[in-house]
């Protein structure tokens, strides 16, 4: 760092005074973000107060603002990102420098419940001024959501760090400056925390009881949506296409729903947080229902489906989290600009012979989607429901539905979808 700690400290003290005045009573405090590798970044806290060093060392990981650090390159759209349950256990760095500009609005919530699941939000410049009528400031929302916020952080430096060294745990500490021994204690504390692989996120993110959503348009099918932390937009996209959606809690036996009364046209596996390798119980259940009915999936759902078919998943260095990923359709050679949010991906080589690689990422060639006509599985890694992000891949929901209901294969289905638009 080119600035001495003392200077940084003074600088932030000064900024604090400013911000306190501006934000009209929103509490702010100096906060340091300590990475598992010992790298520290300072910022001004907002939202939930970060624990002091003593509180941190005495506390359990679940109560502390400990998260796997990921950066998201979306500009704007902070509300949808923060409320996406896939961020459970993660701390989000927004690379866009101005955040909170137009306030927050519960209508934009992506979680089905009341509270988001990410642990911390790290920004370059938080907006604390007036927002449009009927909305609240992001700072106020973070207080209510109990999210630990940091602003005035060198988010670009963090991004470059993650890009080079990969995602890792970091924890926010409500201290101005930490000595070398202090940092060592925090590192040791982090090291004692269970890894992402060892943690269960999906039960916390899932609905507690089954919920049925009925479409406002003419109903044409019934889907089960197995909820590992689904985004509301997935449900909305299905509803808009006449699909009745029964959201099933993650910890329920899925077979019970298939053998009971009523029949479902497809099982939809939702997105969700964490490492798919930690979800073998789900994978086993899936293997039990494969061939019973078509299986569709997005993100974590895609990874679980791949594992159920015998494929493997691997952790990426820092994942894909942004609104601008080029995804190539190997059938049409078209490239979609897609929204992505994942830290794990499917290893293409491990998919069974019956599966067809359908979509790949044009930047790193990672798997973005496949289907298996024999096993009636079709899933994508990215987020066709967008929210946030580009809407152009939303038409994949039509492809999903046609595949589930008519057994149409993607290229044909896409053509049909394009034709219907014309």
């Amino acid at each position: 760092m080119w600035l001495s700690d003392r200077m940084q400290q003074n600088f932030h003290a000064e900024c604090n005074k400013m911000l306190q005045k501006v934000s009209g009573g929103c509490r702010v405090y100096d906060t340091t973000l300590v990475f598992a590798d010992g790298t520290c970044y300072k910022g001004i806290g907002f939202g939930r107060k970060a624990p002091t060093l003593e509180q941190l060392l005495a506390g359990g990981f679940a109560q502390m603002p400990l998260g796997e650090i990921v950066f998201n390159t979306t500009m704007g759209a902070y509300h949808e990102i923060i409320t996406d349950p896939s961020y459970a256990g993660q701390s989000i760095v927004m690379t866009a420098s101005q955040v909170g500009n137009y306030g927050v609005d519960p209508d934009w919530n992506e979680m089905l419940g009341e509270h988001p699941f990410c642990t911390a939000l790290i920004l370059r410049d938080l907006y604390e001024g007036p927002v449009p009528n009927g909305r609240r400031t992001l700072g106020d929302a973070c207080v209510e959501w109990n999210i630990c916020g940091l602003t005035d952080v060198d988010t670009r430096a963090i991004t470059l760090h993650i890009r080079s060294f990969g995602s890792q745990y970091a924890v926010a500490v409500g201290e101005v400056s930490l000595s070398e021994p202090d940092i060592a204690r925090v590192i040791a504390w982090i090291a004692r925390c269970p890894t992402m692989l060892e943690r269960d996120f999906i039960s916390g993110c899932s609905v507690v009881e089954p919920v049925v959503f009925s479409p406002a348009v003419e109903q044409k099918a019934r889907f089960l949506l197995w909820d590992f932390g689904t985004k509301h937009s997935i449900v909305k996209e299905l509803l808009a296409r006449g699909i009745e959606v029964t959201v099933v809690p993650a910890n329920r036996q899925i077979r019970d729903f298939l053998t009971g009364t009523g029949s479902y046209d497809a099982l939809f596996l939702s997105n969700g947080p964490g490492d798919p390798a930690s979800l073998d119980t789900i994978v086993h259940q899936l293997q039990g229902v494969l061939d019973f009915l078509p299986i569709l999936g997005i993100c974590l759902g895609h990874q679980l489906a791949a594992r159920a078919l015998g494929g493997t998943t691997e952790k990426m260095l820092y994942g894909h989290h942004g609104p601008n990923h080029p995804v190539r359709d190997l059938h049409t050679q078209n490239v979609y600009v897609t929204a992505q949010n994942h830290g794990y991906c499917v290893d293409a080589a491990t998919l069974p012979a019956s599966s067809t690689l359908w979509l790949v990422n044009d930047n790193d060639q990672s798997v973005e989607g496949f289907y298996d006509a024999e096993r009636k599985v079709m899933t994508v890694q990215f987020h066709p429901e967008a929210a946030p992000g580009p809407w152009e891949a939303r038409k994949l929901f039509d492809v999903f539905i046609d595949f589930a209901l008519e057994q149409s294969l993607p290229a044909a289905a896409m053509e049909a979808s394009d034709a219907s638009k014309k």
């Binding site: 759209a77 690379t95 001024g129 927002v131 890009r163």
Partner: protein, 1074 residues
């Protein structure tokens, strides 16, 4: 899909001269397109008569034609070159218009030229307002609601539907005459009645008003596979009602929700698809209601544009280059993103900074009646700045704009505006409105945010950002005066983008102390890369900006680089030609192995293309920023000779900071700059200057003027393009001038020169290594002395000059170059009156004629200068025959005439009079085997069609009557009818020419202007009549300008016109490749 192999040569049409609304962005896009096509192996043929451009530099395209952009000439080029295709999208509106005209004339079909880039059909669809509106509706999107009515009742029905305010546009009237905006119910009927009455068809277009809505733009690329990306989103800080070119803008969009943005994104792509843009870029503009979010499509441009240049520089994504590749068959995913070097172009750039554009206005040169901006673009240039936050970028952009504002500043502090002035500015669409908002926040605090939003319709987010700076400035002001602020506060101010000068002002300390305090506290700028991906990929880009208080990303680009200071935003007097010099210098340096660093703030330019230099800094051109870049990069030297006046304005500051400058010494530069020492030097060298004095107070001016004798030329020192420059003929005029806005003080003295009436002016551009001199060329002005050299037509070589006089010029140039030990460029302006040579001024820098002379003489003067700076003498370069000799270039294409082009039609009430104050925005060249051909082509290229038959009206002063007679006789022989004012007619009669006599303007009616207005006059020859008739002359010129009647103000220009007319009557159309 690979590049197309069925075509092998492509014709690209440039945009011609710079006018308001069409500036150097098209040199940038055209140059990129040429390079992109050449690297794919295509033969590229280029047409552009603008000599200032990079694109017309030999070597850029395979064949370069500097011919008029008319169907006739372009067809001739097509006949000569047989291009397989024509790329339509690179030459702005001019390029599109020419292509459409070629198509309509059947020329493209006849010669088998395929249109690539954007099809004629899609261009026409996008340009036809009605059809475009229908298309928008068919996509389920909104456009502004409107109805064409023939009665008040119909209008009322529409009003009930959409409510007030409404825009009334009477059909078939010019310039919106009779229309307006209705805000009040009570105004509706009377205004409607007036509007109906104003229309000859009694027809009015009634449209809903979008005033105050948010205005947004998306830059979209789409390929033949229906892949589409948004390269950049831009939000206008100024809401609807101010032309986007005149608005302060920020990229990316800041105040839209994701749903609003994505809806707009899909709409934009849908519009491209429907219009049929399938291999290139377009710009789509939207308005968004700030409260209910209703989105209205405003328009789209199916080509690269000013915004796409801006978007390219804001994101690092080369839109024009990519468009060219798509035009020849590639798809987006096949075009590599050169910035990351790893990702495909089928991804959308994301920004982790803000890019703020502030337009540059010439309010002094083009006064705005109401001082308000409107729907027609009036800015002449723009500056872009990057910062991590909006406010940082905004402050930098204001500095970049070079309007003597250190950033966002309260108006009462810097411009002396009163509280009521500020309220008035706040309520109008004034260029300084954002500063007015800042002033009000200063005065009233955060309470005023709501009121400001209500008045200005700025989004509250923008206003709050201003308020944050108010808070910070108050902290600085509250700091004990005369004490250096603490490190924390100082760093915070720097992170807000504030300059050391401004911080110094606020704490009442000299700038130097702030600099020292920053240095002591180790507050230094850090470098960030513009990488298109917000840091997601390791992008080794050469494109950088600076910010404070963050991690530094870049090491010096080399241990021995040279920094080129470019010329900043386009303005009258400093434009494209200087950017071309900077660009060519960078290329020349690199070709001999030197590392270059370009610094510029003008996003329209080629110099800010990141491929031009080894490293590019988009930073304000002030001494603070340049010094920091030099220090950080450990650069060995700075080039100040190429960017016009901007780099020279930091001469002292950089010299004081110990920065080493390339070429001519600081001391010599100062001599050339200082009137006293320069006059002494001229005296020593035995060179004549017209009598001149310097006044340091208003009261001195009259005495000095009398001392040297009227007429006198008055001008403030250190101005570019002759601002506030005027010729006065007597005491009364002098008093009027001094009553105006001009400032006369010790710091800004007024220069008083004896005006050489009826003189010929010359421009001489030379290079020297301190030992020898190479004269690139001598240009003779065709217009009379007293018209700014930038506004005068000029011919290379001089066409009516005595060899002795030219020889005197060469000798003078040699002795001045030796005396000043010029290393590099030198421009001398001469005047010749009664066979006596006078030195008007010497500029020890590249002049605006360097690109023109370089091209016409086939000697790359910029390259030669660079080699001089690198130690290769003129002799070693083969430009002089022996050391200590004088060499001179010659025009290699027969005759070349450079003509000035104006943008007066943008300003309804402006007097188009030419004078010592430069007002032209661009220039064109005419090349010909004869002087007549060259002059004729320059006129055609400049949009000035000389008549080949009709009536010439002659009104010349006594001295000129002898000279004019044979000229008039020639016109008569060519079949022209002749009319003349009384005196002229009498003297013509004495010379044996009988003609119609017309009244002068002060002699009653019908007078000469009445004749002009009634279309009886096709050519006007009018030489200055001296002070008494000055006003009448001006009126004549105004009338000619408005009626588009060609006119000449010198007998020499009249003679030139005759030769041109003779050429035009020959009906020969010939074109020549450079």
């Amino acid at each position: 899909m690979p590049a197309r192999s069925d075509i092998s040569s492509v014709l690209i049409i440039g945009s011609g001269p710079i006018v308001i609304g069409q500036a150097c962005e098209f040199d940038y896009s055209g140059t990129q397109a040429v390079q992109a096509l050449k690297e794919e192996g295509y033969r590229v043929i280029l047409v552009n008569p603008n000599p200032a451009t990079v694109m017309t530099t030999p070597g850029i395209a395979d064949a370069i034609y500097m011919e008029p952009l008319t169907v006739q000439y372009v067809e001739q080029i097509i006949v000569q070159e047989h291009p397989d295709a024509i790329l339509t999208t690179m030459g702005g509106q001019t390029g599109l218009n020419v292509t459409i005209a070629l198509q309509r004339a059947g020329i493209l079909q006849r010669h088998g030229v395929e249109v690539i880039g954007a099809s004629i059909a899609s261009i026409e669809l996008a340009e036809d307002r009605r059809r475009f509106k229908e298309l928008v509706t068919s996509l389920g999107l909104d456009s502004a609601k409107s109805v064409t009515v023939k009665s008040i009742q119909e209008a009322q029905a529409f009003k009930r539907l959409v409510g007030l305010p409404l825009v009334l546009r009477p059909s078939y009237t010019l310039g919106g005459f009779g229309g307006g905006l209705v805000f009040e119910e009570s105004d509706f009927e009377p205004m409607m009645r007036a509007a109906l009455a104003a229309s000859p068809e009694r027809e009015v277009l009634v449209e809903e008003s979008l005033l105050g809505w948010k205005e947004l733009e998306l830059e979209v690329m789409r390929d033949r596979h229906d892949n589409a990306i948004i390269v950049c989103s831009i939000e206008n800080v100024d809401p609807m009602g101010v032309h986007t070119g005149d608005s302060i803008t920020v990229a990316p969009i800041q105040t839209l929700t994701d749903t609003e943005y994505q809806r707009m994104r899909m709409a934009a792509i849908g519009i491209l698809r429907a219009v049929g843009v399938d291999c290139g870029g377009s710009n789509v503009q939207f308005a968004l209601h700030p409260d209910d979010g209703r989105m209205v499509v405003i328009e789209m441009n199916p080509r690269v544009s000013r915004s796409s240049a801006l978007a390219s520089k804001a994101t690092g994504f080369p839109i024009a280059r990519c468009s060219a590749k798509l035009a020849i068959g590639y798809t987006l995913d096949e075009v590599l993103n050169e910035i990351t070097g790893a990702t495909a172009s089928s991804f959308e750039p994301v920004l982790d900074y803000c890019a703020v554009k502030v337009p540059r206005f010439e309010m002094e040169k083009f006064p705005m009646p109401s001082k308000a901006l409107g729907t027609q673009m009036r800015s002449v240039g723009e500056a872009l700045a990057l910062g991590r936050t909006f406010i940082e970028a905004l402050n930098k952009a204001f500095r970049s704009n070079e309007r003597s504002m250190e950033g966002l500043v309260p108006l009462e502090q810097v411009k002396g505006y009163t509280e009521s002035d500020i309220e008035e500015i706040l309520a109008s669409a004034h260029p300084l409105r954002i500063c007015a908002a800042f002033s009000v926040l200063y005065r009233e605090g955060s309470e005023a945010i709501g009121r400001i939003c209500d008045i200005t319709h700025y989004d509250r987010w923008f206003v709050h950002q201003l308020y944050r700076q108010v808070e910070l400035e108050k902290q600085l002001c509250a700091h004990p005066h005369g004490q250096v602020p603490g490190t924390e506060l100082l760093l915070k101010a720097k992170r807000f983008g504030m300059s050391n000068v401004r911080i110094g002002e606020l704490v009442a300390l000299p700038t130097k102390m702030i600099e020292d305090a920053c240095e002591k506290s180790e507050i230094r700028p850090v470098v960030h890369h513009v990488d298109t991906c917000a840091g997601e990929f390791d992008a080794r880009t050469p494109y950088c900006y600076m910010t404070y208080g963050e991690a530094d990303e870049a090491n010096p680009v080399s241990g021995d680089s040279v920094v080129i200071v470019a010329s900043g935003p386009n303005r009258v007097g400093q434009g494209l030609e200087f950017d071309t010099c900077c660009t060519l210098a960078s290329l020349a340096y690199r070709s001999i192995g030197r590392t270059t660093i370009m610094v510029n703030s003008n996003p329209e330019t080629v110099s800010t293309d990141f491929t031009i230099s080894d490293r590019l800094y988009l930073e304000p051109l002030t001494s603070e920023h340049i010094r920091q870049i030099v220090e950080r990069e450990k650069a060995s030297a700075v080039v100040l000779q190429l960017g016009g006046q901007t780099p020279l304005s930091m001469l002292d500051a950089l010299h004081d900071a110990g920065v080493s400058m390339v070429g001519t010494s600081y001391e010599s530069m100062k001599i050339a700059d200082d009137r006293g020492s320069f006059s002494r030097l001229m005296e020593e060298l035995g060179l004549a200057q017209s009598a001149n004095r310097t006044a340091f107070a208003r009261t001195e001016v009259l005495a000095l003027a009398k001392e040297i004798g009227f007429p006198v030329l008055l001008r403030p020192s250190h101005v570019l393009g002759g601002r506030n420059m005027e010729i006065v003929y007597d005491e009364v005029q002098l008093a009027t001038y001094l009553d105006g806005t001009v400032l006369v003080s010790d710091d800004s003295p007024l220069l008083v020169d004896h005006f050489l009436e009826d003189a010929f002016e010359y421009d001489l551009d030379a290079l020297s290594d301190g030992e020898s001199i190479y004269i690139g060329g001598i240009l003779q002005h065709i217009e009379a002395a007293g018209i700014h050299s930038g506004d005068s037509a000029a011919v290379f070589p001089p066409y009516a000059s005595k060899p002795e006089i030219l020889e005197q010029m060469r000798k003078a140039a040699f002795s001045i170059a030796m005396a000043l030990q010029i290393k590099g460029f030198m421009n001398i302006q001469f005047a010749v009156q009664n066979d006596t040579l006078y030195i008007i001024e010497v500029n020890p820098r590249a002049s605006r004629t360097i690109p023109f002379i370089s091209k016409m003489s086939q000697v790359d003067l910029v390259g030669a200068a660079v080699r001089i700076w690198e130690g290769t003498s003129l002799f070693e370069q083969g430009l002089v025959v022996h050391p200590g000799a004088l060499g001179e270039g010659s025009c290699k294409y027969g005759w070349a005439v450079k003509e000035a082009v104006f943008s007066f039609d943008r300003f309804v009430d402006i007097d188009p009079q030419l004078g010592p104050e430069m007002r032209s925005t661009g220039e064109v060249v005419g090349i010909g085997a004869t002087f007549g051909e060259a002059y004729a082509k320059s006129q055609i290229a400049g949009g000035n069609q000389l008549p080949i038959r009709g009536r010439v009206c002659v009104s010349v002063n006594k001295k000129d009557r002898k000279t004019i007679a044979p000229i008039v006789r020639q016109l008569q022989e060519l079949g022209f009818e002749v009319a003349a004012t009384r005196g002229t007619a009498r003297d013509l009669f004495d010379s044996g020419i009988v003609c119609e006599t017309v009244l002068k303007t002060d002699e009653g009616h019908p007078n000469i202007i009445d004749h002009m207005n009634s279309g009886r006059i096709d050519l006007l020859v009018n030489t200055p009549m001296g002070k008494r008739a000055r006003r009448g002359d001006e009126n004549l010129r105004s009338a000619a300008m408005h009626q588009k009647i060609p006119y000449t103000t010198t007998t020499s220009a009249a003679a030139a016109a005759v030769e041109a007319i003779r050429y035009l009557r020959s009906q020969v159309v010939q074109v020549v490749a450079l």
